[in-house]
Symmetry: C2
Subunit: 194 residues, 2 copies
């Protein structure tokens, strides 16, 4: 429909770059403690800038969230490539799944944003999400080719399972995090048994 979604860019001028970095650092801290709907005014004030400066660099909340989580998604993609080179395609997939669940639940509300991004091209994180989606799909295909995962499982279904696990983790309290067990149970359902 509309044009390309706005992707935040690190400014070239020194003062702009300093503020950009300070806002991102404050945003990550705020998201982790208050979730994806943390107060933008609070973030600006923690970063020591006026609210207009935050909006100049990140015109929408989605752009700020995307910038704050870009590194993590890139790491996930890079790690998938390293894992794909390993000997055991099932172990590679499982290790990546565990890592993905942890990243998806970095802060409350993130997994919902990622799930929407996956299927909405109008979203800042859509491109990164698609790349990550492809990484996971590649690992899945390899594990299926080796007859270690049921052949009828699609990449979309894999991501529903991962997102569900991440959501459980996002809801968890330190004393009660069911996401590891959740993933374990899911794996029982998708791995092939001899």
């Amino acid at each position: 429909m509309n044009g390309k979604p706005y992707i935040a860019q690190r400014p070239k001028r020194a003062d702009g770059r300093r503020n950009y970095d300070a806002i991102l650092a404050a945003a990550r801290k705020a998201f982790e403690s208050a979730g994806a709907d943390a107060s933008l005014e609070e973030i600006a004030s923690q970063a020591g800038v006026a609210i207009g400066t935050l909006y100049r660099h990140f015109p929408t909340r989605a752009a700020l969230v995307e910038a704050a989580t870009r590194d993590g998604l890139e790491n996930l993609v890079a790690h998938a490539e390293r894992l794909a080179a390993g000997p055991d395609p099932l172990e590679a997939l499982l290790a990546w799944m565990r890592e993905a669940v942890v990243h998806f639940s970095t802060f409350r509300g993130l997994v919902g944003i990622l799930a929407q991004s996956m299927y909405d091209e109008g979203t800042p994180s859509h491109t990164m999400c698609s790349a990550m989606h492809r990484s996971g799909a590649d690992l899945l295909r390899a594990a299926q080719a080796a007859d270690r995962v049921r052949p009828d499982l699609t990449p979309d279904e894999l991501f529903d399972l991962l997102s569900g696990a991440a959501w459980v983790r996002e809801q968890a309290t330190p004393d009660r995090d069911g996401s590891a067990r959740f993933l374990e149970l899911v794996l029982e359902g998708i791995t092939t048994r001899g």
Copy 2:
């Protein structure tokens, strides 16, 4: 910590009851279209009452959500009892799980509220949630006693799986709802195979 959570009560006076019902109807509609964080002012205005009247009946958003979903949870408990009387304990559990997932995802944000209520006694829906939790646990225990479900699955784990499925459904668009398949895959992981 603090006293009992406030549970909304249907008033005795006719005008109060009329408003109470109108607010609930408007709230259900608003929650379904805008999620659990729908505008309260909009709900009051749709119900034809002043904002103060909404607050008089439902002093917190949680109280309004609880009142709007109380019937559904009661039905779920009642249905569990009927199912428990049936001949096949696995079928009973599965039927109830499917129904629970649908109810948990009545509107965006509900499953998160329910998940919190399950473990936070300070919440209006805690009592209802606990009753529902017991219903599910009973069906689970019966299916395990019949050797149809893995014996090491706990009720808390069952609810994590149900909540994850409901969350996937909550995110879904009409053309893409992966929750049925999600549940199917989960069932592969928890049923015992001969």
